[in-house]
């Protein structure tokens, strides 16, 4: 059983700059923010270190931070330029009964994070889902395709806050 602060210290010692900060803004959980391009190594460390032993990835969720600049387009639609998208990893150690929330932020345009699919297989479909709905690319994911939306969906990634419905999909009017 380890508190997030202790885990943060361990990680900070092992990875240095790749661990950015311990965010305590939310009163319900403390979030360790990490580098999206080092997250696989961190995950491996978290899983294999005997003192941590995070053997299961409970949930992997993507969030659109929508902290970029709001740009109004010609037709009055507000799109967002810049800013970040975030991925939350909720980890749990079944044996040691402690939990951890890891967060990485990637840039909104062409954001890339490392895939943790090889560390926890449960990340496979969840990363595909995040890719599908938010458009974050996962490097070294074996099978990064759309999962929930149709494979030929061209209108972008629906869970982004500035997503807009296409007018037509395969010749069908979308709001029927």
């Amino acid at each position: 059983m380890k508190t997030p602060e202790e885990i943060f210290e361990i990680l900070k010692a092992a990875f240095g700059d790749a661990i950015i900060e311990l965010n305590t803004k939310s009163p319900f959980e403390k979030v360790i923010i990490a580098d999206p391009l080092k997250v696989k190594d961190i995950s491996l460390f978290l899983r294999d270190n005997e003192a941590l032993d995070f053997d299961s990835l409970v949930v992997l969720s993507g969030v659109d931070d929508a902290n970029g600049e709001k740009v109004e387009e010609e037709d009055g639609y507000k799109s967002i330029k810049g800013g970040t998208l975030s991925i939350f990893y909720h980890l749990e150690s079944i044996a040691l009964k402690h939990k951890l929330t890891l967060k990485v932020s990637v840039p909104r345009e062409n954001g890339e994070a490392e895939s943790v699919e090889s560390v926890w297989r449960s990340a496979d479909w969840q990363e595909r889902e995040v890719f599908d709905l938010l458009g974050i690319k996962f490097l070294n994911h074996p099978d990064l395709r759309r999962i929930l939306m149709p494979e030929d969906w061209e209108a972008g990634h629906p869970l982004r806050k500035d997503y807009r419905n296409p007018e037509f999909y395969q010749g069908m009017k979308v709001p029927y």
Binding site: K25, S26, P27, F28, E29, V31, D55, S56, L57, V58, V59, S61, G62, V63, D64, F88, H90, I94, K97, T101, W120, R121, S122, D124, W125, Q126, L133, R146, I147, L148, M149, P150, P158, L159, Y163
Partner: protein, 371 residues
């Protein structure tokens, strides 16, 4: 000279009797042997997460019902649990007890469907209808309480939409008493049937380490031999006040973690649920169920991940609140979705008929897989 052979690709679904909805499995076959399975999901995608961003917190509840429509009460309990933690609401005891009773009744209903349709997958049609007879009685209890049979919108943030019907306690007791013999009869008809055992034992064995790595939860994880139940491990509502066991797979007729274990864990869980319901009915306190319902649901800023034990596994809600009346982001951790991902790993080298047995034992609901 060796004869040139090639694998056959069989598309099972989206319209197929045993895919439990609109799931497509692209199966690679060598004769009848399964070489690989590639599930395609998303045919039932209804944008729950996007919808939830446009709703107020209480308005999300009817949508939550429709995730896993067979266990709507449990879904509500899970979502409401997350919202209450986010807002810091103390819920009256009577409400908690009623929630537990409803959730357990719904767990029985869900398991009845899982077992019945599993029989159907294996080829026995009759147990399915016997299960449905009992399920109908549970649904009638729900209808009496909240007016709906499937999608209840019953558990609200801070309370319930209705208090119990005056006859509810009596009828539920009657039900639990009559239900126990039905479990025995189901066991005799299906669980202990030699053909059924032959079909399910040693089929689709899911070792514990694979299960944990794949994030498997619920009856599937327990069938692989781990005593893991959020009702015991992380009690929510008032589950810590009841005395019940966590059934785990023991490999009685085959290997630990095979299809029969997954099936039988559900049977045993129904018995435990009946136990919980009876205890809860005995302890049910009086009180007002509406007192803690907030006038305006406007939680403070923050993120929370709260989870409960659904009949299918661990259902969690990751809610990002930005302090407004609408949730900024609601992410579901759907147990069926994550459990389904394991199918390729455990069905390699089995026969087509086994693939159906394995899929049935995972017990998916496509409403939850696709959201």
């Amino acid at each position: 000279m060796a004869l040139k052979t090639e694998e056959m690709v069989l598309n099972m679904g989206p319209q197929h009797p045993s895919t439990h909805g609109v799931l497509r499995l692209q199966v690679e076959l060598d004769g009848e042997l399964v070489i690989g399975v590639r599930p395609y999901v998303g045919y039932l995608h209804r944008c729950f997460e996007k919808h939830a961003e446009a709703m107020t917190y209480p308005q999300v509840i009817p949508y939550v019902d429709r995730l896993d429509y067979l266990t709507a009460m449990n879904n509500e309990l899970s979502y409401v649990n997350a919202c209450e933690k986010l807002m810091g609401i103390e819920v009256p005891e009577r409400v908690q007890y009623i929630r537990v009773i409803m959730a357990e009744l719904n767990r029985i209903a869900s398991h009845l469907i899982a077992l019945g349709t599993y029989g159907l997958d294996i080829g026995a049609f009759t147990p399915f209808l016997y299960c449905f007879i009992d399920r109908e009685r549970i649904l009638s209890l729900f209808e009496m309480t909240c007016g709906a049979r499937m999608l209840y919108n019953y558990i609200w943030i801070g309370g319930l939409s209705h208090d119990l019907h005056p006859d509810f306690v009596r009828l539920t007791r009657e039900f639990t008493q009559q239900f126990r013999p039905h479990i025995v009869s189901l066991n005799n008809l299906l669980s202990y049937n030699k053909i059924f055992i032959e079909r399910t034992a040693n089929v689709g064995v899911l070792p514990l380490d694979v299960a944990v790595n794949y994030g498997i939860t619920g009856p599937m994880l327990r069938a692989s031999g781990m005593e893991w139940d959020l009702r015991k491990n992380e009690p929510y509502a008032v589950y810590d006040r009841f005395d019940f066991d966590i059934p785990v797979g023991k490999g009685t007729v085959g290997t630990v973690g095979d299809c029969w274990d997954r099936y039988f864990v559900r049977v045993l869980e129904m018995e435990q649920s009946v136990n919980i319901i009876e205890q809860a009915l005995n302890q049910l306190p009086e009180g007002d169920v509406f007192s803690a319902i907030p006038k305006r649901v406007k939680p403070p800023e923050g993120t929370i991940y709260a989870r409960t034990e659904n009949p299918k596994g661990e259902l969690g809600f990751f809610i990002v609140s930005n302090g407004s009346v609408n949730p900024y982001r609601v992410k579901v951790r759907p147990p069926s979705f994550i459990n389904l991902a394991v199918i390729d790993a455990i069905s390699k080298g089995c026969l087509v008929a086994d693939l159906i047995a394995i899929l049935g034992s995972i017990d998916i609901v496509l409403g939850e897989v696709d959201r």
